[in-house]
Symmetry: C2
Subunit: 426 residues, 2 copies
Amino acid sequence: MAKKLDTNPYKGVRDFYPEDMWVEKYLFRIMREVVERFGYIEYGASPLEPSELYKEKSGEEIVNEQTYSFTDRGNREVTLRPEMTPTVARMVAGRKRDLPFPLRWYSIPNLFRYESPQRGRLREHYQLNVDVFGISNIEGEIEVISIAHSIMKAFGASEGDFSILINSRKLMKALFESYELNDEDSLILSKLLDKKEKVDKKIFEESVEKILKDKTSEFLLLLTSHDKLLDKVGKDHPATTTLIGLIESLDKLGIKNIAFTPTLMRGFDYYTDIVFEVFDNHPDNNRSLFGGGRYDSLLELFSNDSLPAIGFGMGDVTIRDFLETHNLLPKYRPETNALLATIGTIDRDQVLELTQRLRNGGVSVALNTIAKKPADAIKGALKLGIPYIIFVGEDELTNKIYTLKNLTTESTESLSEEELIKKIQS
Amino acid sequence: MAKKLDTNPYKGVRDFYPEDMWVEKYLFRIMREVVERFGYIEYGASPLEPSELYKEKSGEEIVNEQTYSFTDRGNREVTLRPEMTPTVARMVAGRKRDLPFPLRWYSIPNLFRYESPQRGRLREHYQLNVDVFGISNIEGEIEVISIAHSIMKAFGASEGDFSILINSRKLMKALFESYELNDEDSLILSKLLDKKEKVDKKIFEESVEKILKDKTSEFLLLLTSHDKLLDKVGKDHPATTTLIGLIESLDKLGIKNIAFTPTLMRGFDYYTDIVFEVFDNHPDNNRSLFGGGRYDSLLELFSNDSLPAIGFGMGDVTIRDFLETHNLLPKYRPETNALLATIGTIDRDQVLELTQRLRNGGVSVALNTIAKKPADAIKGALKLGIPYIIFVGEDELTNKIYTLKNLTTESTESLSEEELIKKIQS
């Protein structure tokens, strides 16, 4: 006999057994409900993308090292998308003349990262992507941050459970310029800020000192004294007024858990102005959950026109962790309303016709004619999480009165077909 | 300036702009509604699978020629799944002891085929997969064929629009045995039957003659005289009684468009008994739409136990073609209820707060503050397919009475906030 095949999935990806799939569907349903309330419409694309889509903004090395890339037999370089923003930029650029702006699009793609297997990080995850194109002023930021906030609330989180960190790359650029830094030093300093929370305080300060020399202690003070930082850049500087206006407008919309965070830079090179990040406040999961920002130049990769754009991506794995940490995940409940179990040997066609009538009446019914005794059928229904079980034997088919057992309350009733349907649907 | 990037997707895959995505979502919604009514629950898996999953049943050459396969840097052979059945078999085998039977699972995965680009066939498509495990008798066949039939009806098709072709591999095996064919000749003959409709009649008959010699004309007659074929195998042969019982039970459930079709063999090697195929009867699209069958031995690839199984796969591309051919696709209508357009320069925060209240009232609102005149806003709403437009200027904010335009009827009304919500939701 041949060697048996392994039942494990490919390294680093997930099988979604129904209870896990149900959680995914719950996450996606809440996400969709909220973004659609804001007028966003769903688009989609294949995970297969031309590799060149990722080279421009990330460098060839990253494409090969951190993505699944291969050459097809037509000699095309193909990549399994590691993020959705280049795809949405490509699609919008492709029909820019025909699309109405402001354009509000969302998608929930799966994304692939070629992580080293030993690190244990997932190689595939799903991510809600929300993007609005064509709004150059702060209304774009207000809207997408409101959406992020609304999704968290729709998941049952209270404002104290999470914080929304905000920064402005333009503000930081102006700050760096006030120290007369050249482009190279500005870049190094912004990367240092991005890593501040991850490195030792002393190492961080020494690295900053290499760039800012005797201005170091003043600069470090600004990172915690935000008023002084804004003063240094100038209260009338456009970057300052934009940031303050954004925070004030969000406040008026009831969004109070905003924290200006000058060390927040966000990884992607394409962000041009405001960036934000949603952070879990729980001591057991004190980490960044997801984020986004404005990227007004990305569409220039495809044509000479630019197009203002802002968006964010919210991953399924981190959101699920957040909900589990805060005990906000609802209990699994399958779409199946009832299990119909037969007792003894009875006429197959009559049972099938009864089941068909129940389904036509709007009840989701799974049929079990193989259970040897009622206890086995009950055990199966409980395993599946099905709330009701209907028992049907010879007598029931003759009298047209059926036994309905509620598996939550364990109560039993004798009901006609119509009563069954009404009861189960109530 | 750098060379501009191409906005086309990767060769052979589709971009789903919102109107196309909406069609996909419509297809998937109908599919889900029907299968869930039959008690099926959704599972999912990554498109990345170990290549060995496909080698056992299809031979190494096919894995390399017709699938996207590559070696990862951990030296694992990976394949982008070309079909879902091996995955569902793997997952069920992996938890066979814990899962309750009968087990009803469905999924709507994307599948990848490494077609030669010039042929123009799609390299990625979506496919509803419906499988039931643990039913060894004909109830499994009755159920999955009923589901296929119900989905077609739920899409608006009438019974005359399509046929359900049915055959039994066991019956054909018995027929071949009655001619005392060896295994090799049986296989050749079944492949010939599978291709009958695609090859020239004379070539077909000559090929059959090479195997059946002087029995050829008798055999060819049986292919069209079904009663004689069943007589030849024997009316009491289990394969005959199963097939006849299946057709009778389906008839009692109101499924009348069944056609016993002895030339139907279906490609996959893993089918063991009943196979079926749904066929479009329209003269413009006279072709097979989708199909399935029983595969009672597939789980033996993973363990020594076998498990009865039957299922089918229904692809999005062929179903969409069917619905377009029969004029059954509904008209696009986005989830967005209304566009709120501002007139002139007005207080941003007041507009945002009004929009927020409308959304909290249950209306999906997209905001347009960039349109220079009402006509531009109307044009945008029409392009997006949004049914209502709300105009808000200084006066409207002061008087709290807003102008609502129905873009279908072109009628205009002045309404309060509450009336707006009520009207749009009605």
